[in-house]
């Protein structure tokens, strides 16, 4: 009887906690000069949750931007490593990022967002020799391209806000990083970035060009899948 309980205990310790962990590091941009304070809220949900939706909760500890690029580290855990991941980075003027005005166009807090879609970032028990890790850098806070005297290359200049606007009402973003695209059907400035699984570091030491290998049939698989 005793050894059965012991065995069950071991099984519960070893079998019931199949948690996959992804170490994340975002290098956040310096605080824009025109604002006195700006906070960043990072949220993460399975890819089954649309990025376009408003997510309640699911947020990491907010962090305030500084005058310098700011590394922001976090750990994401899941019991469903087969799922892809959505990550939202929202820039807000208040800490909780809970001020959501009905008309963003009239708000002094545009609450810009950067969306990330991560392809298969989790792997069970794959922490040797390195943890699975995702790193991204956001060089600037997404914002609308300012305009003056109708100098917008695309769209038109909204004289009231002095921003280039598209027909949809969304503003033209000032910049869009490589690998990302502007989301043009939203009022708030938003970038959408795709993260390929081969850029998820893990299962190999050092810094290879990427973290996938090519099988004889030409299929690309992550090193953690080998």
């Amino acid at each position: 009887m005793t050894h059965r309980l012991w065995t069950l205990s071991l099984l519960s310790m070893t079998a019931c906690n199949q948690v996959a962990v992804l170490e994340g590091e975002l290098v956040l941009p310096p605080r824009p000069a025109e604002v006195g304070e700006m906070w960043v809220s990072v949220q993460a949900m399975p890819s089954t949750t649309p990025l376009e939706d408003t997510w309640a909760g699911a947020a990491l500890e907010p962090v305030a931007l500084t005058d310098e690029p700011l590394p922001y580290r976090f750990s994401l855990e899941t019991e469903h490593p087969d799922r892809d991941l959505h990550v939202k980075v929202r820039f807000c003027l208040n800490r909780g990022c809970d001020f959501l005005p009905a008309d963003l166009s009239q708000s002094a807090d545009p609450q810009a967002e950067v969306w990330f879609s991560l392809d298969h970032p989790f792997y069970l028990m794959k922490k040797d020799p390195e943890p699975t890790r995702w790193t991204a850098e956001i060089r600037t806070v997404p914002r609308c391209a300012p305009c003056s005297a109708g100098n917008c290359a695309e769209g038109r200049c909204n004289p009231e806000r002095q921003e280039c606007q598209l027909e949809s009402g969304a503003c033209v973003l000032e910049t869009t990083p490589e690998g990302c695209e502007a989301v043009t059907d939203r009022e708030r400035p938003t970038w959408r970035c795709e993260v390929d699984r081969c850029s998820i570091a893990g299962c190999i030491a050092g810094t290879p060009a990427d973290y996938c290998d090519t099988l004889p049939d030409g299929t690309r698989v992550h090193l953690c899948e080998l």
Binding site: N17, P46, F74
Partner: protein, 242 residues
């Protein structure tokens, strides 16, 4: 078994006998008085079938007076209690100790009657050269080596326990009737003598097993710690993804 006339006539006989006894038999007038009182009380108890009280009173009266009628009544009470073996012995004591007793023929007949009702447990299979400890109904029974083992008892259920060094205890339980002779075969299983054991800590097997267990535990702990380390994030800023 009610025999009020017997107790009454015995009382009269006792009274007359006590009066006629030489002074040296009963130690004192006080003893005689106490014997008389004990005899009267025992007779009353016998009339009321309070056999335990009657037995005690007659035995006391006989101890104090030595009057054979008191011993006769002791035997009669034992007979009434179904203690036939003791009753037989009491009648035997009476006949052997009091050749002058005027009811010898009656006592002799009762002795033979009681002797016929004694049950006997005949133990067979015992080694005549071995020592045994025998207990009948929890009481130690004398058992000399080489003698035929026969245990007398009365009718009813009994328990016999036989012990012999180096053997498992033998136990018999059963019921016997008046005068029954029951043959009991005592089969005792010899205990296996365990080989001399080396002190555990000096045993190589002990250290091997201990080493294996410790190594296994260490490996298991390592695996568990490793797995646990695998499962924990590097930061305190943790979010669990549903």
């Amino acid at each position: 078994m009610r025999q009020p006339l017997r107790w009454a006539s015995a009382f009269l006989a006792l009274f007359s006998l006590l009066s006629a006894l030489p002074r040296g038999h009963a130690q004192s007038d006080s003893d005689r008085q106490q014997a008389r009182e004990a005899f009267i009380a025992a007779s009353q108890a016998a009339d009321e079938e309070r056999w335990a009280d009657a037995l005690e009173g007659f035995e006391r009266a006989y101890r104090l007076s030595g009057v054979p009628t008191a011993l006769y009544n002791v035997a009669m009470v034992l007979r009434a209690l179904g203690r036939h073996r003791d009753a037989r012995d009491a009648f035997r004591r009476l006949l052997d100790g009091h050749p002058e007793y005027d009811a010898r023929e009656q006592a002799q007949a009762l002795l033979e009657e009681e002797a016929a009702r004694v049950a006997v447990l005949e133990l067979v299979g015992l080694d005549p050269q071995a020592d045994y400890e025998l207990r009948l109904d929890g009481r130690l029974v004398e058992s000399e080596r080489g003698r035929r083992r026969e245990l007398e008892t009365d009718a009813g259920r009994h328990t016999l326990v036989a012990d012999r060094e180096g053997y498992r205890t033998f136990t018999w339980e059963g019921a016997v009737r008046d005068g029954e002779r029951r043959r009991i075969e005592v089969v005792m299983e010899q205990l296996q003598l365990e080989p001399e054991r080396r002190p555990l800590r000096k045993s190589a097997a002990f250290w091997i097993v201990t080493g294996v267990v410790l190594a296994g535990a260490a490996a298991l702990s390592g695996v568990l710690l490793h797995r646990r380390a695998q499962l924990e994030g590097e930061t305190d800023n943790v979010l669990v993804i549903p």
